[in-house]
């Protein structure tokens, strides 16, 4: 599913977070959105899934502007989306199996045994076995992410959104999750949108990278475009220097 974002603007009170975002998310590819904390990455994602409404601009999915949809109509669009939240957002009152089964129970008429088959299959895709009976509190951060991913792909979505999938994980686990994102993407042929701070991981998994700064896209291109750019803002970010045009907000 291709997603075209045009002139998206959003402010909260006097604080304007998105100042006219223009961005195309290519169908069937992984696009990584990078930028400083507070640059509007999460806000942008919340617009794509309809949790926030823009002040101006459009988000076009399958030829229709989804910012004009009513809440009820959004339900249909959302079934094509799978979201992996930053802290996995697993339902802690349910077991791993119930978490992955949850969207299936709610949206499909499958029998309980068929649902358990799908649950096992999705958990196998993310490399987990025999964990159905555990509760999220019993899992490590990396395992939670995997379960979160298994739940996100339960309904075979066309678009997967990852909100900082490797934040808070050790380097080895981060790379494992990156591999998982790449494999899932290949396996299911989905359109992936990844929000990340992790530079090596970004270069590894991205087909396209977009960097946001002050609510705008400063550079959109392939990983090679990013490696070769002379843009001082992008260079400072990639080289992780404190000195330069990017400033940490006090």
């Amino acid at each position: 599913m291709q997603i075209d974002i045009k002139g998206l603007k959003k402010s909260f009170g006097t604080n304007s977070v998105l100042n006219g975002i223009d961005l195309t998310i290519e169908d069937g590819k992984t696009t990584v959105i990078v930028g400083q904390t507070g640059c509007g990455k999460s806000v942008l994602i919340k617009h794509i899934i309809g949790l926030l409404r823009p002040d101006a601009g459009q988000i076009i999915v399958n030829g229709a502007d989804i910012t004009k949809l009513k809440r009820k109509e959004f339900g249909g669009i959302l079934k094509n989306f799978g979201v992996l939240f930053q802290n996995s957002a697993l339902f802690d009152s349910m077991t791993v199996g119930e978490n992955v089964a949850f969207p299936l129970r709610e949206h499909t008429g499958l029998s309980p045994t068929k649902i358990m088959d799908v649950v096992r299959e999705k958990l196998a895709i993310v490399g987990l076995k025999g964990v159905e009976q555990l509760y999220p509190a019993e899992l490590s951060g990396g395992m939670k992410k995997r379960v979160g991913l298994a739940r996100a792909i339960a309904l075979d979505p066309q678009v997967l959104i990852f909100d900082e999938p490797t934040t808070g994980l050790d380097p080895v686990m981060s790379d494992t999750i990156d591999n998982l994102i790449m494999n899932t993407q290949k396996h299911l042929g989905v359109t992936s949108i990844v929000i990340s701070h992790d530079i090596p991981g970004t270069f590894k998994i991205a087909r396209w990278i977009a960097m946001l700064y002050k609510g705008k896209v400063v550079l959109y291109g392939s990983p090679d475009d990013f490696r070769n750019t002379q843009d001082p803002i992008v260079r400072q970010f990639l080289e992780r220097r404190a000195e330069g045009p990017l400033q940490v907000e006090a």
């Binding site: 959004f74 959302l78 979201v83 930053q86 339902f91 802690d92 709610e106 949206h107």
Partner: protein, 260 residues
Amino acid sequence: MTFRPIAIFEYIGARFTTLLEELGGIFSTFLQSAGLLFVPPFRMRLFLKQMEFVGVESSFIVLLTGAFTGMVFALQTSYAFRLFGAENLIGPSVALSLARELGPVLTGLMVTGRVGSAMAAELGTMKVTEQIDALYTMSINPVQYLITPRVLSSIIMLPMLTILFDFIGIIGSYFMAVFLLGLNGNRFISDTIYMVDLKDIYIGLLKAAVFGAIIAVVGCYKGYFAEKGAEGVGKAATQAVVISSVSILIADYFLTALLF
């Protein structure tokens, strides 16, 4: 710093606006959750689970507080009634106060402490850990999934708990009156039945249902809009208890004035 008299009005105005916003938010949460009761899918399991949590699991503390309230009430009234030899009124006066006031109000306050705070904390935790956003992204209406069952269960279970409270309270006062104060047991029962109308009990139960709605709606509202991590969740739980308790006492006054 110079003294600005206008600042007082600004302060009062700001507090008043916040209060109105809060009331509006609570009321619209109630309307939304009630409206979604009639929209499929109907998740029976969630209702039953909440009924167990609100009702069955609260029954012990309701029994305990009910028994002691009835006993102490009989003891206190006996001092006064003995002065003019009207001990036979102990039963009816305890039963009437329990049915009309103490049953619904004390049950409401006990359940607020147990259930209202738990609802605020649970929904608040779900909110700050993005579980509510996760529900939304799975195209499940979080209000319908989380709030509607809690509100309906509380509206149903609070009257049930009040019946329990009234019943055990009257039994407590019976034991007090008959075994400790030496009144005639048959007289106690017949006087009580003679003096207490079914209407007294019904209106008490109606009050309890309103209190149930207040407890669940305030608890869910506070949790659903919790912010800023663990501190926000704690604050939501505390505020839920305070707002519900005060609202119950205020609503009790108006319901009594209107219904009796």
